[in-house]
């Protein structure tokens, strides 16, 4: 549906690739099914749900090829985006903590504002830039995993930078006198913060992972949810649910929930080692 809206609003700007129109048809089907369901009597109800659950479980246990493929793609896209985002956001956070310059407050305010940006809008903007008529159209990146990575990087950088900055600023207020007294250079100060604040930074990165892996709006717009190409956990769940394929949707949902829980356990565990001062 996201795709549809974007296309209808900007028909003159974008020429739809084959992939898109194909996916668009799927989208249309989805709509039809959904409306039929809504109009008809109650859908399966509890029985449907139970059947879905047991099938989903079966898909997980047998490592269903589609499910594995989609999960791996999700992980690849999100981890790549996260790695790039961290390379940008963490040094930026340390720099903002250590350095007093005139635009510092403004930069922090902008980061915080960007954090609240609706992902769909990020997707839309990336779409405009990558579409064939856009400034980066020649690279043909629209509806590729690369486009999804770009969108996720834009969504995750402000979040990671902002969380990391908060803890690094705290660390810096502790280290400030000592490092200045020792004549540490600007670069050495940043290095010390990044190294000694590594647990907090990992927590920030995990939060970024959580946000990126569960994101659907932006990557739907720029990725197009193309089977075997740009379909990831979230977009697949949206699609399968719309089609009424609860088993697949639930199976994918379990994977997503498992990942989210794993991330939260990691954050919790990091918080514990932080207070105990291990590693």
């Amino acid at each position: 549906m996201m795709v549809k809206v974007a296309i209808f609003q900007w028909p003159a700007v974008f020429d739809c690739s084959n992939a898109l129109s194909c996916d668009f048809e799927i989208g249309q089907q989805v709509l039809d099914r959904a409306s039929v369901r809504a109009e008809g009597s109650k859908p399966g109800g509890m029985d449907d749900l139970w059947a879905g659950l047991s099938q989903a479980f079966w898909l997980l246990v047998t490592l269903d090829a589609d499910l594995v493929e989609i999960t791996l793609r999700s992980l690849r896209v999100t981890l790549t985006a996260l790695a790039i985002a961290c390379v940008i956001a963490l040094p930026l956070a340390a720099f903002l903590a250590v350095r007093r310059f005139r635009a510092r407050r403004a930069t922090i305010a902008v980061l915080n504002a960007l954090m609240g940006l609706p992902p769909v809008v990020v997707g839309l903007v990336v779409y405009v830039f990558l579409s064939r008529a856009g400034p980066f159209g020649v690279f043909g990146l629209l509806f590729t995993p690369t486009a999804m990575i770009i969108a996720q990087v834009i969504i995750v950088v402000p979040l990671v930078a902002s969380i990391a900055h908060q803890s690094l600023r705290e660390l810096w207020s502790d280290y400030h006198d000592l490092l200045i007294s020792m004549n540490a250079t600007q670069l050495q100060r940043i290095q010390a913060l990044l190294w000694d604040g590594r647990r907090a930074l990992l927590t920030a990165a995990l939060a970024g992972f959580g946000r990126a892996i569960g994101e659907v709006g932006a990557i739907m717009v720029v990725g197009g949810n193309i089977d075997h190409a740009t379909r990831v956990l979230t977009t697949a769940i949206a699609l399968e649910t719309g089609k009424g394929e609860f088993a697949m949707a639930l199976g994918l949902g379990f994977v997503l929930i498992a990942l989210a829980i794993a991330v939260n356990l990691c954050i919790h565990w990091l918080g514990r080692t932080e207070s105990e001062g291990r590693w």
Partner: protein, 236 residues
């Protein structure tokens, strides 16, 4: 190159319209140990930090005999509340050396040596943030001495130490002093002040109330406030 004399002229530190220290006119020579004493809140910490050059001054001047950049490299500071880097004890002590480009192995060897001198030899691999107050002060001292500075500022370095550790640290400080390190130290321990001082800086209300050689000061301070402080009375 000669660092001293250190000359302060009308040096002042103000925060939020309130004068914390100053105006200070002071000339410190290159010999001996200066002990800074005075009641709580008198401005001892602020004065030491100002002389060390890590608080912004709001007036006056502070000049070393050598270029500032060189002077900065040859000083170290032991803070009243020691700052623990989130690392192991040995990495804390090695850190100042690493900053000046000393190799990892060499830095660790020298750090281990200093750690055992201050009595931390048994806990080299412990996280510094888990140390007790006294152990933290020992660590801070070793970390300050590892670069073998020409000038060492110490802000109540023995405040959290037991009697025995205090004596051990004084021993180390006396040794450093004999080796030519200029010590400028604040303390509330008058016994310690008597043992270490060559000259006394008595601070009151942010100003240097008395500055005199140790012997005459402890024999009989020149001001009534100085006498009251030494007697442990309330100083107004």
């Amino acid at each position: 190159m000669q660092m001293f004399p250190l000359v302060a002229k009308g040096a002042q530190v103000r925060r939020r319209g309130k004068v914390l220290v100053g105006p200070v006119d002071l000339t410190l020579g290159g010999q001996g140990t200066s002990i800074v004493i005075g009641p709580n809140g008198a401005g001892k910490t602020t004065l030491l930090k100002m002389l060390h050059g890590i608080v912004r001054m709001n007036g006056g001047s502070l000049d070393w005999a050598c270029p500032l950049e060189e002077a900065q490299k040859r000083q170290a500071f032991v803070f009243q509340t020691p700052v623990m880097l989130r690392r192991t004890v040995i990495d804390n002590i090695a850190y100042p050396l690493r900053l000046t480009g000393v190799g990892r192995k060499d830095a660790r060897e020298r750090a281990a040596d200093w750690a055992s001198r201050v009595g931390l030899g048994e806990i080299l691999q412990r996280q510094a943030t888990m140390l007790s107050g006294g152990e933290r002060q020992k660590l801070a001292l070793a970390r300050a001495l590892v670069r073998e500075p020409d000038v060492l500022f110490l802000d109540e370095p023995c405040a959290a130490l037991d009697g025995r550790a205090t004596r051990e640290i004084e021993e180390i400080l006396a040794q450093a002093s004999d080796n030519g390190t200029r010590l400028i130290m604040s303390t509330h321990n008058m016994g310690q002040a008597r043992r270490l001082a060559d000259e006394v800086i008595f601070v009151l209300g942010g100003r240097i109330h008395e500055f005199s050689p140790a012997k005459p000061f402890f024999a009989g301070p020149g001001t009534s406030q100085g006498r009251a402080f030494l007697n442990g009375d309330i100083v107004e």
